[in-house]
């Protein structure tokens, strides 16, 4: 079980784009450790007969027909946008990424 270090908390916060104070880092580190430890108990259930699973119901191959359904109108699509221009969502330019 990997330890939840303050560095790891800062890394996760950066990935999630959440600003955290040093006090919060310490607080979250212990809380996250507890959560991870609790979740890890399911590992004990996995054996040769019981496989790790990501879905509770044994289902596979649920497919949709390739038939076009109505979409939203442009006005509907943009109705919740904070800002828009020429039928597009307007967002701040994000630099240093592609």
């Amino acid at each position: 079980m990997s330890e939840i270090t303050p560095e790891l908390v800062r890394h996760l916060a950066a990935l999630a784009r959440i600003e955290v104070s040093e006090a919060e880092v310490a607080q979250f580190a212990s809380q996250l450790a507890l959560i991870v430890e609790s979740v890890a108990t399911v590992k004990a259930a996995v054996s040769d007969e019981i496989f790790a699973t990501s879905h509770p119901i044994p289902m596979a191959n649920v497919f949709r027909e390739d038939v076009v359904k109505p979409s939203l109108t442009q006005a509907q699509a943009l109705s919740g946008a904070a800002d828009s221009e020429s039928g597009r969502f307007k967002v701040s330019a994000i630099l240093d990424e592609d």
Binding site: L15, R17, V62, A77, L78, R88, S92, D96
Partner: protein, 501 residues
């Protein structure tokens, strides 16, 4: 921007071994998107093919497009891959405005297809077997337009505009294993590989495969290591190189750039790079860093895909022949020399010529039109030949008109220009513009007599048997007929008349 220093290509290859790896994204041409029923169409008004799924609204539930799964399996089979007994979707988490959900639905440790191979022939005729690591399914992202700044690129942009029509379009990403030993042919191999992938997906009918529309996109990983060194060098990944020519140039550029750095004792930075077609150079994008921690986890809203053996075999039975086999068959069928055939393949005209021949043209005529006049026009207009507005059927019609003697080569080129200008089909243009060859000897004879009477000295020479003198008369007659005469017939008649007069 500082200009990179490059090592001479040959010198670089003498000192270093090149290793490349290619990731090709193929957009499928299904009617609908990967996880919702919105139309998968290029070029519609922005944000008109979107729904709560495409826009990442809370509570929206994805539903897998069965046709996209089928097409992905076909691609896997065409690449001689194994098809996974169980494939699963996963969430690839990252924040970027081109994906409103804040994650891309992709596949991680259970791709639909893996462990394939493909034989690639490079222009020299050498064949490389490229190992395919995996082919997995995912969804495309929306399209960003960067506004402000001078270049339309992200550098200097003031804000960005997002169109989500493309978000959710089904993609198959095909990833090769590292490719060793291509040496100085690594750039050509990279381009030939992408060409083959494009040919495969086009012949499968699963993608429109138009690179200029981004249906097929390539990321090229390049690393070099001193000859004899076992450890792989640090690689760079050049993103979205969107023409075959650019792929070749970008790989060559990276080899030369990295060789210069290593020769100076400078370490290569592992990073994403961007290819700039205008400058013929790559530039540094973002470094691979923490941001690449995508925290994949199984997509809880989608159940696994478990294609049955029967289904896979059914799909396998529908596969068209492999590119290498098709090429061999076509070369034999068309009776092209190795040189002629390679020229066709390298000019990327195999499909066009195949379609033209199927539309009734003789193979050599089809080849001549595409690799000659049409390639020349495309080149002079700085276009991809596929962008020219002429169909293989129209080319076949022009070839037929030449074959039947209704058009001379010169007139045929004129008709071709008219077709490209959108004036209609060849037959219509010939009729409308009166371009047909004058096969009425009466009109020709009148013109010949006129010219001969104006040039008595030439007439005398022809009578004396100096037939090369006829050239001047033929030229004058052709001019008088505005080119709409068959030069060979004019020559016959000139000589005949000279002796009769």
């Amino acid at each position: 921007m500082a200009k990179d220093q490059l090592m001479d290509y040959q010198k670089a290859l003498d000192a270093y071994e090149v290793v490349i790896g290619l990731e090709v994204h193929v957009e499928l041409n299904t009617n609908t998107k990967m996880f919702c029923g919105c139309a998968n169409v290029f070029g519609d008004e922005p944000n008109t093919n979107v729904c709560p799924n495409c826009l990442g609204f809370p509570g929206a539930m994805p539903a897998v497009n069965g046709k996209a799964i089928e097409n992905s399996i076909k691609i896997g089979l065409a690449l001689d891959c194994q098809i996974a007994a169980t494939g699963r979707f996963a969430r690839k988490n990252y924040f970027y405005p081109d994906l409103a959900k804040n994650f891309q639905t992709s596949q991680y440790d259970e791709p639909i297809a893996f462990e394939g191979t493909i034989d690639i022939e490079v222009p020299s005729g050498k064949v490389f077997t490229v190992a395919i690591e995996r082919a997995h399914m995912e969804e495309d992202a929306g399209k960003l337009t960067h506004v402000g700044g001078s270049t339309g690129r992200i550098q200097g942009a003031e804000f960005s505009l997002v169109d989500f029509n493309r978000a959710g379009v089904p993609l198959v990403e095909i990833v090769t294993k590292p490719i060793y030993g291509a040496g100085d042919e690594a750039p050509e191999l990279a381009a030939a590989y992408v060409r083959s992938i494009r040919e495969i997906v086009k012949n499968l009918g699963v993608s429109d495969a138009r690179m200029e529309r981004g249906n097929v996109r390539c990321d090229a990983n390049v690393s070099i290591r001193p000859k004899g060194q076992e450890k792989l060098g640090t690689r760079t990944e050049t993103k979205n190189v969107n023409s075959l020519r650019s792929i070749e140039r970008a790989v060559k550029y990276e080899i030369q750039r990295q060789a210069h750095l290593l020769s100076q004792g400078t370490a290569i930075i592992q990073e994403t790079r961007h290819w700039h077609e205008d400058r013929g150079a790559t530039s540094s994008g973002r470094p691979k860093s923490d941001a690449d921690d995508y925290r994949y986890f199984p997509e809880p809203d989608l159940v696994p895909i478990q294609p049955s053996k029967e289904w896979i075999e059914q799909l396998r039975a529908t596969l068209p022949e492999k590119p290498a086999i098709r090429r061999k068959r076509l070369q034999e069928l068309w009776v092209f020399s190795d040189l002629e055939f390679r020229d066709v393949v390298n000019s990327d005209l195999l499909d066009e010529i195949d379609d033209t021949v199927k539309a009734g043209a003789k193979p050599q005529a089809a080849r001549k039109w595409w690799t000659g006049e049409l390639a020349r026009i495309a080149n002079s207009e700085d276009k991809d030949i596929a962008e020219l507005s002429i169909t293989p059927t129209q080319v076949a019609q022009i070839a037929a008109l030449v074959e039947s003697g209704k058009l001379t080569d010169r007139l045929a080129r004129e008709v071709l220009t008219c077709v490209l200008a959108g004036e209609g089909n060849p037959e219509e243009i010939v009729a409308k513009r009166g371009l047909e060859v004058v096969s009425d000897d009466g009109a020709l004879l009148a013109a010949i007599d006129q010219v001969l009477s104006e040039q008595p000295d030439v007439l005398e020479k022809i009578r004396e048997g100096k037939l090369q003198a006829a050239g001047a008369v033929i030229g004058a007659v052709m001019k008088a007929m505005a080119g709409s005469a068959d030069a060979a017939r004019v020559r016959e008649l000139v000589i005949q008349r000279a002796n009769e007069l």
